[in-house]
């Protein structure tokens, strides 16, 4: 079985994977709700950090808990908890990023039995010189809370090891992304997304091993179809791999992305410092920002434009989860930036389920428009 097939298999059986891990290692599994939760700290305490994701099914269990104007992802994620699909979790963590997913966290804590939960007060003014020390204090709280819950002390060596493993994970995924710069693409956008989503569900040691396998396979791998238009996907939370497959079947390949089940999650390393928690805090304050925590558009915008150039992007899909205002605010500025480079953009708004037919028409029309000469 190839590395990509293994990622697919783990995504299909994500709950079973976590349950098996628990049985196999005797460790605790902690869910997390936003990529601003420092997974290396959870891992250092012997926990398996697992990202809570939705399933894109129609559901009616969250209406009593969340306003109708809460984003579809946050609703979908809470539905999983209410339906008991994460009944094996020992803990749940969340970092202060957006009020919608906070609704998921609060309701989960109140209405779904969970032995341990912890909320990280990520400072909202991340540009301030006081942001790193502030978050460091929060991470110390988290560390102490975990130690109290598990009865295990997290040593500097534990932290060093976890930091090293996650930095390796990030480096290997960046290496995979390098292959997507090629004209002769060895991997589709859907497959790359499977890799990143798997990294948010798996034990980092096992994921690193699969990444090494994948890097060995990629030089001899080819797509079984024409690559078509080189597309960049930019937006809010997005783990709908079925959608990405549909998108790519219409005549394009996603060569680079900027979302939190893609590059925005793993792009930045923790730069080691003597003060380990300080180093982790610095990584999360200075990392590739989500607009939900950043007031500086250019910090994100400049990185996006650089990636668009480096990966030779020919078209851009800008999307948002419905009601995700921070992302929606950035869309006009991003669209303008791409317009100046003569790169066409398409904007789509995602709900729990997507209107397949309408999206198909828009995407096809966009591809017809973006192709230099159709006939």
């Amino acid at each position: 079985m190839s590395a990509i097939e293994k990622f697919e298999e783990i995504l299909e059986n994500r709950h079973q994977y976590a349950k098996d891990w628990k049985q196999r290692t005797g460790g605790k599994v902690t869910g997390w709700l936003c990529t601003y939760v420092p997974v290396e700290l959870l891992y250092a305490a012997g926990m398996l950090p697992v990202r809570i994701l939705g399933t894109h099914e129609v559901q009616d269990v969250t209406d009593r808990y969340l306003f109708p104007t809460v984003c579809p992802f946050s609703r979908d994620a809470l539905a999983q908890g209410l339906k008991g699909r994460y009944d094996y979790l020992d803990g749940l963590t969340m970092s202060r990023t957006c009020s919608h997913v906070q609704g998921t966290f609060d309701n989960w804590r109140n209405y779904v039995p969970i032995p341990f939960s912890h909320y990280i007060w990520l400072p909202c003014h991340r540009e301030s010189p006081r942001a790193v020390p502030c978050l460091r204090g929060e991470l110390l709280d988290l560390k102490q809370a975990i130690e109290k819950f598990t009865g295990v002390t997290v040593s500097d060596e534990d932290l060093d090891k976890a930091i090293e493993l996650y930095n390796t994970n990030r480096r290997l995924m960046r290496q995979v992304y390098e292959f997507r710069k090629s004209d002769d693409l060895p991997i589709t956008g859907a497959e790359a997304m499977e890799m990143v989503v798997a990294s948010q569900l798996m034990d980092v040691v096992e994921h690193n091993k699969l990444l090494e396998d994948l890097l060995a396979e990629l030089p001899n791998r080819k797509l079984d179809r024409e690559a078509g238009l080189r597309l960049m996907m930019i937006g809010s939370e997005m783990d709908d791999i079925v959608f990405v497959r549909m998108l790519e079947e219409l005549g394009c390949t996603v060569v680079i992305d900027e979302h939190c089940t893609g590059s925005r999650y793993f792009w930045d390393d923790v730069i080691p410092e003597e003060d380990r928690l300080g180093a982790i805090a610095r990584r999360y304050i200075t990392r590739w920002p989500c607009p939900a925590v950043s007031s500086e558009f250019n910090d994100r915008g400049d990185r996006i434009m650089q990636h668009a150039k480096d990966w030779d992007t020919q078209g851009v899909l800008l999307y948002q989860q419905k009601f995700c205002d921070p992302h929606e605010f950035d869309i006009p500025s991003l669209a303008q930036n791409f317009k100046e480079l003569d790169i066409p953009t398409l904007v789509l708004e995602f709900d729990v389920t997507i209107p397949f037919g309408q999206f198909r028409t828009r995407i096809e029309a966009f591809l017809e428009m973006a192709e230099l000469e159709v006939f």
Binding site: Q358, T361, A365, M369, F375
Partner: protein
């Protein structure tokens, strides 16, 4: 038999001056939309015949029906058509089509053909969606915007209203203009809400004409909102079934500051199928090269 007020005129047309047997290329475009279907046959670069009919319960039958009606009495057999392109919501399910192209590209191309190369902005008001499209002088799309998921402000909504008020849909536009003064638009263009609101207005003594005026006005207002997002570049034209409703189109043009819409002959509702037939001809000529 009860009257079906939602029914609009279905018809076929052919150009008696063209002898299709002398044509070098004979191709067709078929547009299977959510409400109506059209088939256009192009003899060389001229429209030879076409049909405009209702979409049935499935796309393949609707396509066959539209093409069958268009070809009736012409002597053209299906196999005489050298290339067929399908478009519209049902485009991927048109059995005789060799290629499917979106209605967005086809409407731009068809409007460019019928209205001339100066057309830059097309408003397509279809059975279940709305599209604002910009194109270049060749009819190639440069930008577009589509309404979101609901059918408000589209042909289907107008059909519901015609049934509710028991007014033949082809009379809706003219009747909506025959009012002593322009009423406020209905507050929502959601079809279901608008229907409830219309019932309320009728109960409070409004005439049918006033209710139609309020609905047409709401529809126009919604469309202008979409157009303003994409921007209007001249020349401007309107395609799709609602382009035949003067109650909506005149209000759109007024709200856009009194601009004009380039008329499309022979029929603005067939723009998608015309565009598809033009693409079919391009693809046929390309395959010969």
């Amino acid at each position: 038999m009860t009257t079906e007020y939602f029914r609009w005129t279905e018809y076929t047309w052919k150009d008696p001056d063209i002898d299709w047997r002398k044509a070098d290329t004979l191709v067709a475009g078929i547009d299977v939309g959510s409400v109506s279907s059209q088939a256009v046959v192009l003899a060389d670069d001229k429209i030879y015949c076409y049909c405009n009919t209702r979409t049935g319960s499935n796309s393949p039958d609707s396509a066959k029906n539209a093409l069958g009606q268009a070809l009736e009495g012409t002597g053209i057999k299906d196999e005489d058509l050298q290339f067929v392109v399908g478009t519209g919501y049902g485009r991927v399910n048109i059995p005789m089509a060799k290629k499917a192209i979106t209605e967005i590209a086809c409407h731009a191309r068809g409007a460019n053909y019928m209205g001339g190369p100066t057309i830059r902005t097309i408003l397509d008001m279809g059975g279940q969606d709305l599209k604002g499209i910009h194109c270049d002088e060749r009819g190639k799309v440069t930008q577009f915007l589509m309404n979101d998921k609901c059918a408000a402000g589209t042909g289907r909504g107008m059909e519901v209203m015609a049934e509710l008020l028991q007014v033949p849909i082809v009379d809706v536009g003219q009747m909506s203009l025959d009012v002593p003064e322009e009423p406020e638009p209905v507050s929502s263009t959601c079809v279901i809400f608008a229907k409830s609101e219309a019932i309320g207005l009728l109960r409070s003594g409004w005439t049918k004409n006033m209710v139609l005026a309020a609905y047409c006005s709401a529809m126009a207002h919604r469309v202008v909102g979409l157009l303003e997002r994409i921007g209007i570049e001249k020349e401007f034209t309107i395609t799709g079934g609602i382009s035949k409703n003067v109650g909506v189109t005149s209000r759109i043009l007024k709200e856009l500051g009194g601009i004009e819409a380039v008329p499309l002959a022979p029929d603005a509702q067939i723009a998608g199928a015309v565009g598809a037939s033009l693409f079919a001809r391009d693809l046929l000529l390309k395959s010969r090269r």
